[in-house]
């Protein structure tokens, strides 16, 4: 909508009509506002890469309407509705609020998000990608579905503590990549570290939930839903160092492991929703990144291949 035109019209109508106009504008569904179709299309792809659908969609539930429960060592989190519903979703947000949520972990009301929402990775997203993702989210059907509270153990149930957590451990801004690396590696790093947030599951954390970046992607025995998350660094003994590029490709495309078994559970969803949707060039960039990051020896209690 042309903002200058709205201003001109409101001036002509006189000041008494302005409150009504404001009400009308607020009532217009955001989805009806003009959106660049190409931005929406790019945003749809970014939504896949960022893995939004998996966490924000309940099994057999409405797409992106939240309600998905995630068991963690800190308690049970329930994902929120991110459809443009004005009452229960993000229909009253604007792009700037969305950007702040993704990159600073802060809601429009100033609430600090728990890092189960991976803003610790999304903080590295490019502003243009955030804008495209926003455009797409405005285009999806609004679903009225109220958000459910998290069920967390003390002291994690005290959300205000997140202020201190973020002050101590959260670094806002673009991801760090060695400038001497190839463009393909840099793209892979962006996919893995920011959009795809691979480290949120694959990087071990300490008891305060802080990722140990000195062991990036080295796997953990305390992953989401209590499972063992494999080491995906190129360590030949405990990681994927013996996998060929083709092996990694097969995993990303169809979830197939080198022994022709298939990944399941959370990674199965990641394959379906994200990696299988990647363009060939993005997939190859991710493969290059995964094969060139430092190898970390990390023997896990069971399984290192899925």
């Amino acid at each position: 909508m042309d903002r200058h035109r709205v201003k001109w019209k409101s001036a002509k109508m006189g000041i008494s009509l302005r409150p009504w106009l404001a009400v009308v504008l607020l009532a217009v569904p955001v989805a009806l506002q003009a959106a660049d179709p190409q931005a929406v299309e790019r945003g749809r792809y970014l939504l896949d890469l960022a893995g939004c659908v998996g966490c924000h969609t309940q099994e057999d539930g409405e797409r992106l309407a939240g309600g998905r429960e995630l068991e963690t060592p800190f308690g049970r989190f329930t994902s929120p509705n991110i459809t443009p519903d004005p009452d229960t979703g993000i229909g009253q947000w604007n792009l700037d609020q969305f950007r702040i949520a993704l990159t600073r972990g802060e809601s429009p009301t100033g609430e600090h998000y728990y890092p189960v929402f991976p803003y610790t990775s999304y903080t590295g997203m490019k502003p243009s990608d955030i804008a495209d993702l926003w455009a797409y989210l405005q285009s999806v059907p609004a679903v009225s579905q109220s958000n459910q509270p998290h069920q967390l153990s003390w002291p994690f149930s005290w959300r205000f503590l997140m202020v201190f957590w973020k002050w101590l451990f959260f670094e806002e801004g673009p991801i760090a990549v060695d400038p001497g690396q190839s463009e393909q590696f840099k793209r892979g790093a962006y996919l893995a570290r920011a959009l795809g947030h691979c480290g949120e599951c694959h990087t071990p954390r300490n008891f305060l939930g802080v990722m140990d970046l000195s062991r990036e992607l080295a796997g953990t025995e305390n992953g989401p839903e209590g499972g063992v998350i494999p080491n995906i660094t190129p360590d030949p003994e405990t990681g994927i160092g013996r996998w060929s590029a083709g092996d990694v490709d097969s995993l990303l495309v169809m979830g197939m492991l080198p022994d022709a078994d298939f990944v399941g559970a959370g990674m199965g969803e990641v394959v379906d929703n994200s990696t299988a949707q990647m363009t060939e060039s993005d997939r190859q960039a991710l493969i290059v990144f995964l094969r060139e990051i430092p190898a970390v020896y990390n023997q896990l209690s069971s399984g290192s291949s899925d």
Partner: protein, 154 residues
């Protein structure tokens, strides 16, 4: 209902009728696991061949034919479980295989269709390498789909 779904449904029902008392013994479970590993073996061998990591493309039809043969008996491998969860042999087959047989049959039919599409193209020697890889990926996704729905993670 298309031809594949009809055939798979018939094979599934026939399997239920033929197997004694329709209850899985430990031997049945052992047999099923062996067949699945055999399928995986052919899938793995074809993956490295299709990716060009080994120069054995002349052997692809052997694997494709084996895949088809094994795929045809898969629907008969799931007799009623009885007390198999208590057996000494670990099985990851989910109860939904038997509690929602129509869903299982549907998924098997999709697998069967993907297996035929890929294997027949290999046997006929007609597909380009890109086409074969695409069909193979479809087959892999069909396998994963069944595992996702009907197999425990551990």
């Amino acid at each position: 209902m298309d031809c594949h779904k009809l055939l798979v449904s018939a094979a599934f029902v026939l399997g239920m009728l033929i197997l004694p008392n329709s209850h899985a013994s430990e031997a049945d479970i052992k047999h099923r696991i062996a067949i699945m590993k055999a399928l995986g073996g052919h899938m793995g061998a074809m993956a490295v061949t299709l990716r060009g990591e080994v120069d054995r493309s002349d052997q692809l039809p052997i694997h494709a034919q084996s895949l088809l043969s094994l795929a045809s008996i898969v629907p008969s491998l799931f007799p009623e479980p009885g007390k198999q969860r208590d057996s000494q042999i670990k099985t990851r087959a989910k109860p939904t295989i038997w509690s929602k047989p129509e869903n299982f049959q549907q998924t098997l039919a999709e697998f069967d269709q993907a297996a035929h599409q890929f294997a027949q193209t290999v046997i006929d020697g007609e597909g380009s390498s890109e086409q074969l890889l695409a069909f193979y990926a479809d087959l892999g996704r069909a396998c994963k789909q069944c595992h996702d729905q009907f197999r425990w993670k551990n």
